[in-house]
Amino acid sequence: MEPFLENSDLLWVAFGNTLTIALAAGALSFVWGTILAAFRVSPIGPLRTFGAVYVEVVRNTPLTLLFLFFLVASTPLLGLTIGLGVPMAIVAMTLYTATFVCEAVRSGVNSVQVGQAEAARSVGLTFIQVLTHVVMPQAFRSVVPPLINVYVAHIKNTSVAAGFAVFELVNFANRFSNPYPAQVVALFFGVGLCFLAMTIPLGLASQSLEKKLVIHR
């Protein structure tokens, strides 16, 4: 326990950085991912193509490579310089997680049966009304559980930032394994618990929501 007790201030810094990246990139990727999903279900061809190409390219790129791109290639290629550390982590993780948010939202919208919207239109609802009263409430049910799983993966992915000069939880374990050689196992165990404290409740929430929100057709 010593490495945690004697460095509790640094532990909070590390936890804070993990949370900052997870929350900031989480919120941004939700916005960008929803926009991408809207692109992918829109009736406008070019938007669909853009969404599909973006998702296919970014989803098939390892997150580590995305970090490396912003570290060495984005400046000479696009003149785009992003501060090393937390800002870079937020940008890379936003672009990456957005692809998974997009796919979760798109699957949810597509899971609504055509007849639902047709029925809504046939009783004279406008496009906005169809969306807000019929399609969205049903899509929401199929989107939330997978979306929570996206964010469980997202929280764990913040650890990649440890390799790119961010002092977060995994980096904390890495750094203090040197001064506390006898406590290495406890150190990793503790950091693992910190992650489980975030991921397991979310996972359980996803499972119970899934049971609760299931649509009986």
Partner: protein
């Protein structure tokens, strides 16, 4: 059944005209975006002779030196832990799945705990643990990280596959006198593997992408050799090597994803088992990856 049909009626003449205008506008917008990227890159001299590093490299190197380092050292370094990890994952995941379907609670509960815990911690943490606490070689640590995480996920996929089978399969197995273990191994698992094959292949993409984490723990794989190359050839070659590596990853992963889709179609038409409902895997969206939910319902075209 595409989303347009859910959200929009069949377009009338007015809507078709409007859509045509939008089409032109957005096509122009994206062409402008691409043009801007090329223009900016060109302004910064990206299209100069720096690309010749790929066929006629400077500093006493040959094209063979560059490509052998990228392909033989790098790509093989990326594929090696994947090829070692996959069989181990398959065996361990099968064991966990069998234990999880056990009739004894004292066997089921630990297996559940193992899957939940190993699914919830970052792969990189396990890799660091291998290097620092277990004093493993980087290769072994990468394999450890990949195995620990993926066995939990694959076990969960297989469990979902078994859950999706009709109950009659298990009942029939038991009624002809097979033991519960035999029923799981000989009746349920083979069918579960079959219906979950696309998900399992997608998980292989995740595993491949996660092997790039080896870069962080100083394992020699594709990113590491790319960095060695651009450090040697200098500032200008950075863009070249990053883009080449990205193209290699995206190419390989797209190939594997296509394989998953192909398998899905092939098996979809031949499967004799009537699956009660589309199998769902809670938490299958993963550390770096192509998730299941993201692929299940509608990607099956």
């Amino acid at each position: 059944m595409s989303a347009q049909q859910v959200l929009y009626d069949k377009p009338g003449p007015k809507a078709i005209f409007r859509d045509k205008i939008y089409n032109v506008v957005f096509t122009l917008a994206f062409l402008a975006l691409i043009a801007w990227i090329i223009y900016t890159a060109n302004q910064r001299g990206v299209f100069n002779d720096r690309w010749s590093v790929l066929w006629d490299p400077p500093r006493n190197q040959t094209a063979w030196d560059v490509w052998s380092s990228l392909l033989i050292t790098g790509l093989w370094g990326t594929l090696k832990p994947v090829l070692i990890a996959i069989p181990i994952v398959m065996v361990l995941a099968t064991v966990i799945t069998v234990v999880r379907t056990s009739t004894k609670w004292w066997a089921r509960v630990p297996a559940r705990v193992v899957t939940e815990v190993f699914r919830g911690i970052p792969v990189l943490l396990v890799m660091y643990f291998g290097v620092i606490a277990l004093e493993m070689k980087p290769l072994h640590a990468v394999v450890l990280g990949l195995v620990v995480y993926n066995m939990a996920v694959v076990a969960e996929i297989l469990r979902a596959g078994i859950a999706a089978l009709p109950n009659g399969q298990r009942e029939a197995g038991l009624s002809i006198g097979l033991t519960p273990l035999q029923t799981t191994m000989q009746i349920q698992l083979p069918q579960a593997v079959r219906i979950m094959l696309p998900a399992l292949v997608s998980q292989a993409v995740v595993l491949l992408k996660d092997s790039a984490l080896g870069f962080v723990i100083a394992y020699t794989e594709l990113l590491t050799t790319g960095r060695r190359n651009y450090n040697y050839f200098g500032e200008e070659s950075k863009v070249v090597f990053i883009l080449v590596i990205a193209a290699m990853y995206i190419g390989i992963n797209m190939l594997v994803s296509r394989l998953a889709h192909w398998l899905e179609r092939r098996l979809g038409s031949r499967s004799k088992v009537v699956v009660a409902e589309a199998p769902k895997v809670p938490g299958a969206l993963t550390a770096g990856g192509v998730g299941l939910e993201a692929r299940t319902p509608d990607d099956r075209r």
